[in-house]
Symmetry: C2
Subunit: 186 residues, 2 copies
């Protein structure tokens, strides 16, 4: 019997030690048996998953500026947020878009889903495109402080050079937007 392709080089869990259960993440350390029989450990951060939206208003995209405590500075990013338990990612994306920017979108297009850091975390990010936006009201979470603006592709690329935009999802979204402008396709 051959190994399924997605189990190549599988690391078998020998034991799993819970370390931390937080509001957002949990952490555990697995002792694993490697393909050669040797033992090692893997430090793993569990995350509920997240959504993000490349929201286009004609020739501009919506971004939000917020403080990112792990970096100790504010950053400009596309609207994004964590999945609630059991929440459909497309619904979560619509919810976050409206909460953070005030804009609503009836039909989001799924662009890609990717693991942000598969070496230590299971966080997956679902990226959507929103066009034909309808203006509504911003309503932030009580511990959320941010400012929304709409920027051109050239401004986005300038912000990337200045590192005011410097997160994986927004960099990926700007690439996707640039490709869309060149090819007409997402």
């Amino acid at each position: 019997m051959s190994t399924p392709i997605d189990k190549k080089f599988e690391e078998i869990t020998i034991s799993s030690q819970p370390i931390f259960e937080g509001r957002v993440i949990s952490v555990h350390v697995d002792t694993v048996q490697l393909p050669n029989g040797a033992m090692s450990t893997r430090e793993i951060v569990r995350h509920p998953g997240a959504v993000a939206v490349l929201a286009l208003l004609d020739d501009r995209m919506l971004v939000v500026e917020q403080y990112r405590k792990p970096l100790e500075r504010s950053q400009i990013e596309i609207p994004a947020g964590k999945l609630e338990p059991g929440e459909d990612p497309a619904e979560a994306a619509k919810r976050e878009l409206e909460e953070e920017t005030g804009y609503r979108c009836a039909n989001l297009k799924h662009l890609s889903s990717f693991y942000t850091s598969p070496g230590f975390s299971d966080e997956i990010l679902h990226l959507y495109v929103a066009e034909h936006l309808v203006e509504g009201n911003i309503h932030l979470d009580e511990d959320e402080f941010l400012e929304c603006e709409a920027i051109t592709l050239e401004q986005a690329q300038q912000y990337i050079r200045e590192q005011r935009i410097s997160d994986a999802k927004t960099v990926a979204a700007v690439y996707a937007w640039q490709l869309y402008k060149l090819t007409g396709r997402f």
Copy 2:
């Protein structure tokens, strides 16, 4: 005196509780004062940072397949690895490229650097492009098991659709490669 642009909506650390010091990551929980004076907590994972390489052999890019314990399956990704303490990112990228693929590159071009998950982690990933590769020898870490192959852009896009490629750095690298093919520029 106005607030520096990168301190907008700053969250002041009131206290910081260490949770875990691992081989790769460390975890702490900060109690913070929000811009409106209210208190909250932030769960933060510290990471040494990482490098990744879009390595091009004519019309193909080098990828490695390896088991990702947090996802409990193997994945196809561009060559990548953690920074050693004090290591220059470009040197680390050359090192990881040679360790994982056997190929050497004298001059890497820096493509972008991004935070993989700025909501909970300070991990930064430095992405490089390598061309004009010279064949050498693969030499993996003792707890590293992986397989290298060279794939076309069409194969990479197929792997993304099949989710055999599904990590942020490889998805970003494939976008960058596609843009390069369309515009001649990275």
